[in-house]
Symmetry: D2
Subunit: 186 residues, 4 copies
């Protein structure tokens, strides 16, 4: 096989997953971010890296944004939102964070394959990304050629980047104004 064969398969798979993300759930996620005082993001592994990519763009737009586990992340309050990206919706450390956020009264949003997962049940907003994975036993009509949660993780990044475009619209921010906030010491 050559790379273009695999790239075609990946693009086809992405169309099947992100093409089914629900418009109204995305709107609710956008509203939760717009209404929050501070935005916290969390995720494990490659999903966590997609959440960090999102956090960086939120910062560029001007939202006060933090990544759970990074150095300067303060305490969350009931005026804030916690956004979790988790394919299974059941990663232990993220269930812990979601439970703590709920006890404090923060708004919880989840991007996941499984809306009936433990975090799904705690969340105020759930955005479902219907990516099949070996770990999640649901009939989504096709199997991915990719290992583990790769298709979810890619779909998560693209979905979050589409949400950035919605947020730019809402806030009137342009790529130029965002670039002014871009890190300039590296």
């Amino acid at each position: 096989m050559n790379i273009q064969t695999y790239i075609s398969q990946i693009l086809d798979e992405l169309g099947e997953t992100v093409g089914h993300v629900c418009d109204s759930s995305a709107e609710k996620l956008v509203d939760a971010i717009m209404d929050a005082q501070m935005v916290f993001v969390a995720g494990a592994g490659r999903s966590g890296l997609a959440m960090k990519s999102f956090a960086m763009r939120l910062m560029h737009i001007g939202f006060e944004t933090y990544v759970v586990g990074e150095t300067v992340t303060p305490s969350i309050t009931n005026k804030d939102v916690l956004l979790i990206g988790s394919g299974s919706g059941s990663t232990s450390s993220l269930v812990t964070s979601a439970s703590k956020a709920e006890a404090i009264g923060a708004t919880i949003c989840l991007l996941t394959i499984d809306e009936n997962s433990p975090i799904g049940k705690l969340a105020d907003v759930v955005l479902t990304i219907p990516a099949p994975t070996p770990k999640i036993d649901r009939d989504l009509g096709f199997r991915s050629v990719q290992p583990m949660g790769a298709l979810f993780e890619q779909s998560l990044l693209l979905t979050l980047d589409a949400i950035i475009l919605l947020l730019m619209e809402k806030t009137g921010k342009t790529p130029e104004s965002m670039f002014n906030r871009h890190a300039n010491l590296e």
Copy 2:
């Protein structure tokens, strides 16, 4: 606008960029990884996060892999490969790493928009991802609706995940054998 409108645009843009990644450059990148004793990855900002996603999968396959700047990353030698993801190919800290790697005699691979960039000139293998960005003044036939290097960063992740599929083929690894290496303490 709703999220599906933006998702369609992003998928269209991705087809225009990753659809033009060169098969033979990808093969050279695969060979460089297969031949290396250790694999080091580096990148800044969101490109750096895509490189980390790749590093995690390389580790799952069984390659001895390190991220420049993380805690347990040892010294590079002339038997190793340094993989850099950089849209501009000119980020200062990455130019520094590339220069140091070259002095040591390590193999350097670059994934970039601009093969004529400072790091492009130092690299043994360059894989070009033709994503238009405001910062890079080249006529690629279209403009992205997305801010800054978003299209490059997405294309980088997908290209690297296609390279993972090529490497799984070469090494005979399956998703199941890779899952056995997956972090299990979170």
Copy 3:
């Protein structure tokens, strides 16, 4: 007050805590590291940063070392050791990691103020650092002028660096041989 006044107080406090670290517990910790196939370290907040400082030195000596939560960290097995630094011994995410490690059969070592904590009860080796903190209600004979767990975190770093000296002795490594492993791309 000037900085030297505070520095004197900090040094006095450190003498009161690290001066009471138990020789035989340290020996057990050293043995657990020497016997392990891979070494995993974990910690939250500033204690987590001290654990990372330790992990970097373990890598310099030549131990295959990983930080829980970093990119290239593989799965732990029953041949490995998990070292946790936690003042309270009860941080949720660390209790989770310790429980998972125990189920897998890995050796667990804890550096803590409170050996009777949840992680303390799971651990095979506990090294107690008797630092008073506002959160831990024990009579240690004095109060620290420093906020939160500062004295524990400082003591943790110094104790771990003393363990590095013990491990250098055991392995015959010199500062020069360790420097050869030092990251060289930054």
Copy 4:
């Protein structure tokens, strides 16, 4: 040798280094932080981890603080301060950051062994920590038993924690008010 022998040596060495930190340089560093709009910290390796420990406490006090290279770090301006911890004062990536900060007009503070280093020459405030290391050829009257920059890194952490006590005094913050800002999702 046992751990208490090494701990005694480390404490003796620390007295010889942090005991010579200059009161008036520390005051200048405190003033630079108090006057800044945002505080950026940077460092490589174990010195970088000490700088992160400091950044966390600055956040607890209430300073808007960022770590160079972390996800949510925005652009620096001429109203901000960049604090660098570097034993040699010559780490390439940090020289780059210092040069960029200088061009922008930000205030630069350096904690270092070598005030005549490249970053030392760019810095507005230099706080010298006179720790001997094999890499730095200066007669400081004694040799450390510890490998590489260990003594500098330990001294850096303790000096920064003493600066926290000075800043608590200046701002009137108590451990209790700081604890309210402590991360609460882990």
